[in-house]
Amino acid sequence: MNNSGTTIFDSWHPFVPLAFFASVIVLSMAVFQPVFIAISFIGALASSIAIRGWKTTVKSLRWQLPLIVLIVLFNPLFSSLGSTVLFTVGPFTMYAESLVYGICMGVMLVSMLLWFVTASSVLSSSKVMALFGKRIPVLSLMMSMIARLTPLYVRRGREISTVDSACTASGRKKASVVAQAAKRSTVLMSWSMEDSLETSDAMRARGFGASHTRTSYARYRFRLRDGIVSVVLLVLVVCCAFLAWTAASQYRFYPTMPMLRIWWGYIPYIVLVLIPTFLSIKEGIRWMR
């Protein structure tokens, strides 16, 4: 839907999406009951479409759907348990319970993958830094340095290869490909290491680490409405967790599966997983006017 890097969660403090995605992922992992799994999958799919757009979601489903099929088949073939025999092939007996279990497992894994990609597209590295930068200054400094140095080293590696090829092009004894790769990687490593130690000296000379705490520029401010939303979210999550626990403790796959009934207790979870979709629909309506 948008490629500008902005998402519907941008008007909130990064804590709100972090809390939302963390609790949804934990709930989807913990609750193994068919209806809750289906709700989580629909929510994950809708959120992914709302936040990452149609095309990206379909592209990621292209390799995730075969994964479901694999897991669906894997479980009943090797875990022959259950009471309703579907068919028998050679030594393998396919039971309905085991098949349903496999389907649930596959759908749960894919919805978790979808939640994870959606979460990481919402929580950009700058937002993660804003959340943790003050509390864990050393590690967030390291992470931002690594994220910045990796592309630099890829470029530097290419530069070294070009220079090395140019220097050895004029008929000097050709080293083997393996020896050449070892030499180039060593050059890259020692260049980068010395460079980084020069950088650390320069940082210290400019006063890094001179004061006990480092100040940081806060782009995001935790306002009253972020607080209210967080509390509402917490109440909803606790409510869902309790209902899900009730539902899951009454449900058994083996030896026979009980009938599933329509129950009001599914509604809070539906509301929870569809929050990103609601927000994006609201945004869409606002822009249409």
């Binding site: 979460a119 340095m145 080293y153 890829v154 990687s185 060593t186 980068s192 290491m193 130690l197």
Partner: protein
């Protein structure tokens, strides 16, 4: 300020002592989940592995490392990620495991752990985060940690031992990553199911093990020599 410094230091000492038990608890949890057939195995093991990672990271953070201590970790992690991206087309063939081992040997076990954990976390920002991220962080962190411990006790006096270690360790890495899937996501767990899951991973693990040994044979000696030269040039890290 002095008071907060001493509390930070005592925290660092406590966290440092927790490090080893928590690293051991992670595989123990997986084994106990299988033994007692725990229903919430996926969530329980995830919580334990995250707790282990948080304790190790907090121990590093509260020890207030100097810039000269941070930089080698940052550089080696970034190089490992660059290597991983370079070989991304071939599954499980990557130099990360080898670089973690070297980091543990040259800079000590805690730096080795941090290289592995940070390389896994940041490289998955490029390649995709998922429920496997904490397990990769743990497994690669362990590769660096064990490398440092074994070197300290003089296990790598002969160079062939380190290639064998790289081979063994790659299988350990594969075993940890396959186990988190088998324990958490195959239910009810049977021998055939477990064997099929590990068997499916075996081809990748063999590729990983051979490539790690090759990477170590290729870069261990020259990198170690260069790193020691840099250490002499710049003084103690």
């Amino acid at each position: 300020m002095a008071a907060s410094n001493t509390t930070a230091k005592s925290w660092a000492r406590i966290l440092c002592k927790l490090e080893v038990p928590l690293l051991i608890v992670v595989p123990l949890t997986l084994a106990l989940c299988v033994y007692f057939n725990v229903a919430q195995a996926a969530l329980l093991s995830l919580v334990v592995v995250i707790a282990a990672l948080v304790v190790c990271a907090a121990g590093f953070e509260t020890s207030r490392p100097a810039l000269r201590q941070i930089m080698p970790i940052v550089v080696l992690a970034a190089l490992a990620i660059a290597g991983r991206l370079l070989f991304a087309a071939i599954p499980d063939v990557q130099p990360v495991t080898a670089i973690c081992i070297i980091a543990g040997i040259v800079f000590g076990r805690r730096s080795g752990f941090m290289v592995g954990a940070l390389a896994a976390l940041v490289s998955n920002m490029f390649l995709g985060q998922g429920p496997w991220t904490p397990w990769q962080m743990y497994a690669w962190g362990l590769a660096g940690y064990l490398g440092g411990v074994l070197y300290q006790y003089g296990a790598f006096k002969r160079s062939w031992t380190i290639y064998v270690w790289g081979f063994v360790l790659s299988f350990l890495y594969g075993f940890i990553l396959d186990s988190f899937y088998v324990v958490g996501y195959v239910n009810p767990l049977t021998w055939q199911g477990a064997l099929a899951a590990y068997g499916a991973g075996a081809a990748f693990n063999i590729g990983h093990a051979i490539s790690t040994s090759l990477f170590l044979a290729l870069i261990y000696a020259p990198w170690k020599r260069k790193l020691e030269r840099i250490r002499r040039k710049y003084g103690e890290y």
